[in-house]
């Protein structure tokens, strides 16, 4: 990972530098005009955030049953990233809601469920920081339950009466004029955010590794 870290970082930076120009090329959406362009980043952050949450759940489960230290590091790094991407997604979502629904917070099913997931992972970090000895296992249990709510968030818009766009909105893009380029930009932004997730995850895991090394050296010095 350390060898390809720098090239990956450069590619991610290049994608992010180009994305505003690419988004600018998309045609205006018929009712929301300029504001619709929030969507490209909004969707991409949630994809990255959902990936982080699911990876965190799997890594937490693996840590619980196998006791693998690496899995624990992945879990804590992805939990932090999930909170950050989730916060960005919630903020861009409220901006969107202000324009599309006329209110900052509509109390809609998916938005509420996304906030719940955000709270679960903030709880994860709180337990991790203030739980005292043995908090790794506590937070791992939290991670597994947090990931279990992710499918509910995804499906909530299809089950409940709500104003958030349904999951079918993506596949309908191909049939509208200018939809193909919009679809391409969505994929482009998603790729950029996924790469960002990978790069930050690698850096965060390295930090955790160094921290563990430092702790070990302290203990050796004390003996």
């Amino acid at each position: 990972m350390r060898k390809i870290f720098l090239p990956l970082l450069v590619i991610t930076a290049a994608l992010f530098a180009y994305s505003p120009y690419y988004i600018n090329q998309a045609p205006y959406e018929s009712t929301m005009l300029l504001v619709q362009k929030i969507f490209y980043y909004h969707f991409a952050t949630w994809m990255a955030g959902a990936t982080a949450v699911i990876v965190c759940g799997v890594a937490s489960g693996y840590y619980l049953f196998k006791g693998s230290v690496v899995a624990d590091r992945v879990a804590v790094a992805t939990a932090e990233l999930g909170v950050i991407f989730g916060a960005f997604g919630l903020i861009s979502g409220t901006l969107w809601g202000r324009k599309a629904w006329g209110t900052w917070w509509a109390g809609d099913a998916r938005v509420s469920m996304a906030l719940v997931a955000e709270l679960i992972f903030i709880g994860y970090l709180l337990v991790r920081k203030y739980g005292g000895p043995g908090s790794e296992k506590l937070s791992a249990a939290m991670g597994v339950f947090g990931a279990a709510t992710a499918p509910f968030i995804y499906k909530s818009v299809d089950w409940w009466r709500t104003i958030h766009p349904k999951t079918s909105v993506m596949s309908s893009l191909n049939d509208t004029p200018g939809g193909v380029i919009m679809w391409n930009i969505v994929l482009f932004c998603t790729l950029a955010f996924m790469l960002l997730l990978t790069v930050v995850l690698a850096a965060r895991m390295r930090l955790e590794e160094l921290r563990a090394d430092l702790d070990r050296l302290y203990l050796e010095a004390e003996d």
Partner: protein
């Protein structure tokens, strides 16, 4: 064997509780106090907001449930009996189910007081469809208690357990509380929206399956040192 161990743990908890009535009396009192405070907060110009009753029932259950959970395991910790229980040659999931049943008995006992009390104080039509209300209460309580028992059990060893239990428990059980509140609200409409209520009931049953399965699965690795 599994059922026998679970029932033995349940019997033990009930026997201890019946000696002092400590948890049952404190949690029901706390729930009653909660409802009373809400009845002041939600009364405007002598006209009580009947529809807020659904939320109040579930909040009172969630708050007093936390009290029951932490006291049950605090007692185990105080007597160092949880270690003995885990050392016993019994399967861990069976012990978990036994503790869960004990907690469920406590919360159901609280509900027997809280639900009629809310119906009375808020003059709300909670009992429009008693069967469906019972279903919502049972499934909702199982979902809440399943997660609660797991987290309360593993927090026994943590230093900051009093703060940590609500922090861990509330975010995870919000979906259960939401489903309970929405389902109960649908039942109070006139006429009651049975289709809506049964949708929420199905969702609650789904949550129960997910939460109980995950808890049974994780209890063993979480309770080993």
């Amino acid at each position: 064997m599994f059922a026998r161990v679970a029932l033995l743990v349940l019997k033990k908890d009930i026997a201890i509780e019946l000696r002092s009535y400590e948890i049952i009396s404190t949690t029901t009192f706390f729930a009653a106090a909660c409802v009373t405070i809400f009845s002041f907060a939600f009364t405007r110009d002598d006209e009580t907001m009947a529809m807020s009753a659904a939320g109040i029932v579930w909040i009172a259950i969630a708050f007093s449930g936390t009290l029951a959970l932490s006291r049950t395991f605090e007692r185990e910790r105080y007597g160092e009996t949880l270690k003995a229980l885990l050392l016993a040659p019994a399967s861990r999931p069976a012990i978990y189910v036994g503790k869960l049943l004990g907690i469920l008995c406590l919360i159901f006992a609280t509900e027997i007081l809280v639900v009629p009390m809310v119906a009375l104080m808020f003059q709300s039509p909670l009992f429009n469809r008693p069967g469906m209300l019972l279903g919502l209460l049972v499934t909702g309580t199982i979902g809440y208690a399943a997660v609660g028992t797991l987290f309360a059990a593993m927090l026994v060893r943590a230093r900051t357990r009093d703060v940590m239990l609500p922090i861990l428990l509330y975010p995870i059980t919000i979906p259960v509380i939401i489903a309970g509140v929405e389902g109960t609200t649908a039942l109070m409409l006139s006429p009651p929206d049975e289709a809506m209520a049964s949708l929420w009931l199905a969702l609650l049953a789904f949550f129960d399956v997910v939460f109980v399965t995950l808890s049974l699965w994780m209890f063993e690795p979480l309770m080993t040192e």
